[in-house]
Amino acid sequence: MTTPEPHVRVRDLRKTYGNFVALDGVSFDIERGETFALLGPNGAGKSTTIEILEGYRDRSSGEASVLGVDPQHGGLDWKARLGIVLQSSGESGNVTVREQLAHFAGFYPHPRDVDEVIAAVGLTDKAKSRIKSLSGGQRRRVDVALGVVGRPELLFLDEPTTGFDPEARREFWELIRSLKREGTTILLTTHYLDEAAQLGDRAGVIAGGTLIDIGTIDEIGGADSRIPLVRWRDENGQHEERTTEPASLVARLFAATGGEPAGLEVRRPSLEDVYLALVAAHGTNDKTMDQLEHSL
């Protein structure tokens, strides 16, 4: 029996810019066909990680393997298997959407149908418009289209839906789901936690250059962070209780009040709640460290 090697493998990755440590010992794997969401606050090191894996930046130390190749030495054969959507790509665009996609499709051995890709990102009406005449969100959709047109095995998406309207975001999720069905491996960064929850199989939370948690979307943050929250109001004011048995609590409340409790809410913490708690906990750790260092 052979087990396939993960599409992305990162071990103890470090990156320094001068004296500044942007990544400090990050390790994770992304299996074939998996969608991995890399989450974290601004400046956490998400783009640094992703651009090291894309071959744009050199790591300071550690190991990285992308489709079995060291990204610092990836050749054209290797690039042909990747799809890249950068966080920012502000080119002038003196060509139409269709011209640009058809041109880039030609770089790849088995490209997707250009018109299908244009339709998938919702730009059929704009196919004949110059890219520079498009709105910000429409241009971003062109970036996404260029990332997928080469039928990549591994797709890097660095905040792909910045500037998308809610409808475009839903269309994008559909597109990503269809890519997942085809078996595409995806590394996604996003600040929209609902997006990560919708698309991701697993997530990693990175803050200050270290990976503070990693796991499947419903496990990350630990079981305790998922304990449901029951909220209600009575004459004494607002109440909040975390319990693993919310239904019994509600039943008891109902019996006690003899009717509907006011403002009743039963909520399972969302990925966003879990994420915010994780990052906040990490932030306080950092602060105590800083204070320690100052007092020394």
Binding site: L76, E91, S92, N94
Partner: protein, 280 residues
């Protein structure tokens, strides 16, 4: 045990076919960019017009049959050489510096486009636009300024190789020089002084024979002086060769010096070209 992901090889020969597709793309985007068309494409034509009108009364010597050489006739070869330099070196280096700044090259660098195909696209664009530019210059010179163009096929053969060699050399040097400016914004400020000085010392605006000898020697290091000389050999009366250094057209000198610069440029491109600056 683990299996490594086998990376399929890309088909051979795609460098050339993709190069051809790049040429089409580059030419298309070039002409859609209004300002660069004006400044580099029409610039030599505008200067030819200005010189022809401004110096219409001046004398530039006589040809074998005793007719006066007009300003248009005198400046035509100079402007052809300037056009090659502007389209090739100046336009190319500024263009690539901008593409590096605005993320175009970063995107291409993440795709399986061979660097060589990208170069072919750029050089092809310069050849196409340079040919159109020269054609237009010749047409305007002949029709509007009544310059008598050579009828001897040997002269046109000289024109063809001087043009092609010159255009490729300038294009390659332009790619190499694009690494010089740190940003797209500084590109014009870094590149234009270089090409402007070259034009002044190489006999494009000022008559080369009137420059001091040390300056003539200095200019002879660079390819533009030789390009302009090659062009003069085609379009000026043969008697004018006495004004050249050594009193001959020295076409083998033109070929040798320009070819050396072509090789220097190719080596520089190979060694210095990067899609992006990795340190930033």
């Amino acid at each position: 045990m683990t299996t490594t992901t086998a990376t399929p090889k890309l088909p051979a020969g795609r460098t050339v076919t993709l190069g051809a597709s790049r040429v089409a793309y580059e030419v298309k985007t070039y002409f859609r960019q209004g300002d660069s068309v004006f400044f580099t494409f029409l610039f030599p034509l505008i200067f030819l017009t200005i010189f022809s009108v401004a110096f219409s009364a001046a004398s530039f010597g006589t040809n074998a049959s005793g007719d006066k050489v007009t300003a248009a006739e005198f400046y035509l070869p100079a402007m052809l050489a300037a056009g090659v330099l502007l389209s090739g070196l100046q336009n190319m280096s500024i263009d690539i510096a901008n593409e590096r700044s605005d993320g175009t090259l970063k995107r291409l660098g993440g795709s399986p486009l061979p660097v060589l195909s990208y170069f072919i696209g750029k050089i092809g664009q310069v050849v196409v636009t340079g040919l159109l530019q020269s054609g237009l210059l010749l047409l305007v010179a002949a029709v509007a300024f009544r310059v008598e163009l050579p009828t001897d096929p040997a002269k046109w053969l000289t024109f063809a190789w001087v043009f092609l060699l010159g255009v490729s050399t300038c294009a390659v040097l332009g790619i190499a020089l694009s690494a010089l400016p740190r940003t797209g914004k500084s590109a014009t400020a870094v590149i234009i002084p270089i090409t402007l000085i070259l034009q002044f010392i190489s006999g494009v605006y000022l008559s080369f024979s009137q420059l001091p000898e040390w300056l003539q020697n200095f200019a002879s290091i660079f390819p533009l002086k030789w390009l302009a000389q090659g062009m003069r050999s085609v379009f000026l009366p043969d008697s004018f060769k006495t004004l050249e250094m050594g009193g001959t057209w020295n076409l083998s000198g033109v070929a040798i010096v320009t070819a050396i610069w072509l090789v220097v440029g190719l080596v520089a491109c190979r060694l210095t070209f990067r899609w992006i600056r990795k340190d930033s």
